[in-house]
Amino acid sequence: MKELLLLSSLGVFALIAEMLNIRKLIYPLVIIGLLLNIGLCVNDFGQNELVYGMLKLDRVALTFTILFSFIAILWFTFARDYFIDETNLSDHFALVLFSLVGVFILTSYTHLVMLFLGVEILSIPVYVLAGSDKRNIYSNEAAFKYFLLGAFASGFLLLGITFVYGAIGSFNILQLVSASMSPFGISQQLLIIGLVLILFAMAFKMSAVPFHFWAPDVYSGAPTVITAYMATIVKIGAIVGFYRLFSIVNSFFSYYLGILLLISVLTIVVGNIIAATQTNVKRLLAYSSIGHAGFIILGITMLSSATAPITWYYLFSYALSSIAAFWVLLIVSQQTDSEEISAFNGLIKRNPVLAGTMTIALLSMSGIPPLAGFFAKYFILINVIGKGYILIAVTAILASLIGVYYYFKIIIAMFTGTSENANGIPVSGFSKLVMILISLLIIIVGVAPDLIFQFIFSKN
């Protein structure tokens, strides 16, 4: 409950700060607030607090809240640079903070209406933020597309929830266990259909194939800062929301196994293949994020006691690399007015820190040891092969190989491309420091994955 109140009040504070004209305080206070949030979560470990019977702050909720709070801290540091000239910094921050409340609900819900509420609270601010670059027609298109399709998906979600309620007579997802033993035939079918509809809605939010068509346009139309937010935190919310529900469902409904396998394999393959054809880096990163979502869904499909830590680890390494990649992309595209791969030409000479950060982030995303991304993919592959799906593992590996191809297009451009503009790119010292920290974190988490597993998951 405390975390919920904290995040909400941070959002309210950001709004009020605009009125009271204390804009300069917003960033430090938000960071302190998020750090406090992490502290509260660490403190609450093992208590399994039930909030009004609708949210349960169990291990999954608390660890993923720590995750998104940490990534949010990095995002706010990144966004602060972008908004430095904007007069509506506080509006943007407030919307993001409210959206974080939605993510929190998604990590901890046990009541299906909370699932819906979480998805809406997460998405609606992002609809607005996607269109926040008012003078850019692509931004308007992105917001409109996202809103329309997102509302449609939410409709499916609500219908699915209604069916599930009709089938088991309760909104509590923990009661799905007893529902499976129910001898009533009609309820069983209704339950299955309801869950499938919810699955489709969550797949939309996670940008899984074939519900991904909104993602490339929305990601590339929205301002880069917001795209980074969508690619990291919105994905975390959607994936954890999906995981909470389907970790219970999956253990005793084998129907969904086929659908989930199909979705995950399609997502991995389609995401990586189409990304290989892109020359616009933002769109490329959008498609690659679809590919990564596919891997995570595959990991969740292979349900086991280790799924939560593995998903956490993957989301952590992916979010770190994403923030770093989008940050560098933002700086480079502001400098060169282009988001094409050619904008990165010769970056190693123009600004080695940017190039190094980008290289480490891209190497991690493509799964090169000993970086974090390799172990993340590797742990998922162990589970996949362990359950006997060797062909799927081979497909996933080949798709990652395609991933190497397009990530390396950018790396090659950075190291060997020649650009007419040979000036250095100015980056503030603070930004450089944070970028170097992110790179170091990616390397450390990769070299010693045990740190994560023992540290975060030994608390229970």
Binding site: A306, P309, L363, I368, P369, P370, F374, F375, Y378, F379, L381, I382, I385, G386, I390, A393, V394, I397, L398, S400, L401, V404, Y405, F408, I412, F415, T416, A448, P449, D450, F453, Q454
Partner: protein, 493 residues
């Protein structure tokens, strides 16, 4: 601790090279590589004296969740390759003296970083650690070829990278497969456990794992038909890159055959040995014949390298004492010889700006010392008795003969064909009349003379005293061979 120091010392010097300024980069990295060489020789001597010293083993837990340990250990087999790596890197770094290298800090630190990764590959006793080091060694050589290579490098180096990565991913699948088939509760990646697990798998599964591993190693060595990345990459890479690739990196693949492929899936070896030996012999012949057809000296050397390592692979798959010992010795010899000859090519290119053999000629009359030292390196490559190449090739052919006479006859053709293209190259470039181009050859620098003389000494030294090396690896090789034969129930005559 000694073994940990071996792997970490180059990394320390990477940091030192990066800290100081560009002019010092080569000297610092050279000093670092010499320090590592001293350490390597010291380790070798200590190992000779007392193989059971605790300093040779470093074993800590790494990822408890999956049972992976950071386990590196010196044994009779990898000490030879450790010696090779530590021996060659100072030569590789010093060969750049007198050449203009842009961004020397990055260049030399990449070379040292690669040395560390290579040492890790050879010393790793844990499959996941082995895999991580294997992949890690790819990054610096990729960057070296990409940034300092000749024209057309992007496509060629990328082909090299993707090709190798493709194989490595199949190796990853095989490693996970074996890890999963651990019957005990505590899964582990250790080499010892992999030998035990693999031996108990059904033959069909062993064959599949064999193919997966073989794919990775065959691409690395390379073996026909997975070799197409090699000639272009060798020719386009900077000289130091080519030396690293041909001198040490391809030995990674051959080493892995001995230690990570055959003992892990003995039945797979038994089923597939005929085919892989056929492929290796085809590789030998293909490389040798293609070498005859080349006019560019460096390209000819690339194909010749392909031929030589095909023989190493064939000898390994014959899997008897002579074959494997010969392979280990030839790895050492070929490493020295090929680096020496690529250095010769680099000297010629530096002065003449071309390696087209029909455009050169008569260099012998301009530089006597160079021609003598070139000839010694060449004879080592051609496996003339008294050189290191002879010991290696003789043992390999002996081992192959025990497996199959026909294979040995065909593989033995490499000796003749090798002599053909090498001596013809020498004749074309060194003998005859000087033309307008080669008149300006001048004499080679003192540095080049010293390096070539060192190579010549090593070639003859290892040709005269092979037992220094061979007796170290004899016992471990015998144990591995016995392990495989006990699983496949072959009676050794």
């Amino acid at each position: 601790m000694l073994v940990l120091l071996l792997v970490l010392l180059p990394v320390l010097f990477v940091l030192l090279t990066l800290i100081f300024n560009e002019r010092q980069a080569k000297n610092i990295s050279l000093f670092g590589s010499l320090a590592t060489l001293v350490l390597g020789i010291y380790t070798f001597c200590q190992f000779n004296a007392d193989p059971t010293n605790a300093g040779f083993n470093y074993h800590v837990s790494w990822i408890k969740a999956v049972g992976a340990d950071f386990h590196i250990k010196v044994d009779g087999i990898n000490i030879i390759l450790v010696l090779l790596t530590t021996l060659l890197v100072p030569f590789i770094i010093q060969s750049s003296a007198g050449r203009i290298i842009k961004n020397p800090k990055s260049f030399f630190s990449l070379i040292l970083f690669m040395q560390s990764a290579l040492l890790g590959v050879f010393l790793a006793k844990d499959a996941l650690l082995f895999y991580v080091f294997w992949e890690l060694a790819l990054i610096p050589i990729y960057l070296i070829c990409l940034v300092w290579g000749a024209d057309g490098k992007e496509k060629i180096t990328f082909k090299f990278f993707i090709y190798t990565l493709f194989g490595s991913l199949f190796m990853l699948l095989a490693i996970i497969f074996i890890w999963l088939h651990n019957p005990s509760m505590n899964k582990s990646f250790s080499m010892r456990d992999f030998y035990l697990i693999g031996a108990h798998l059904p033959a069909r599964q062993q064959l599949l794992v064999f193919i997966a591993f073989y794919l990775a190693f065959a691409i690395k060595i390379p073996v026909f038909p997975l070799h197409t990345w090699q000639p272009d990459t060798y020719v386009n890479a900077p000289t130091q890159g080519t030396m690293l690739l041909s001198g040490i990196m391809l030995k990674m693949g051959a080493f892995a055959l001995i230690v990570w492929l055959i003992p892990v899936v003995p039945l797979g070896w038994q089923l597939a040995s005929k085919w892989v030996i056929v492929l290796s012999v085809i590789s030998v012949l293909y490389g040798s014949f293609m070498a005859i057809a080349q006019n560019n000296f460096k390209r000819m050397l690339a194909y010749s390298s392909l031929g030589h390592v095909g023989l190493i692979a064939a000898g390994i798959f014959a899997w008897n004492l002579q074959g494997v010992q010969g392979a280990l010795y030839q790895m050492l010899s070929h490493g020295i010889n090929v680096v020496a000859i690529f250095f010769v090519a680099d000297i010629i290119f530096n002065k003449m700006q071309t390696l087209e053999m029909n455009k050169l000629g008569g260099i012998r009359s301009v530089s006597r010392v160079f021609s003598v030292l070139f000839l010694i390196a060449l004879l080592g490559s051609v496996a003339m008795p008294l050189t290191n190449g002879f010991v290696g090739e003789f043992l390999l052919l002996h081992g192959l003969f025990q497996y199959s006479t026909i294979a040995c006859v065909f593989a033995g053709l490499t000796v003749i064909i090798g002599a053909l293209y090498m001596l013809r190259a020498y004749q074309n470039m060194m003998h005859g009349e000087t033309n307008s181009l080669t008149e300006k050859f001048g004499d080679i620098t003192t540095n080049e003379k010293i390096l070539l003389a060192c190579f010549a000494v090593l070639i003859i030294f290892f040709g005269l005293f092979p037992n220094l090396i061979l007796h170290v690896s004899e016992q471990p090789v015998k144990e591995l061979i016995d392990h495989v034969h006990s699983v496949t129930n072959i009676i050794v005559k």
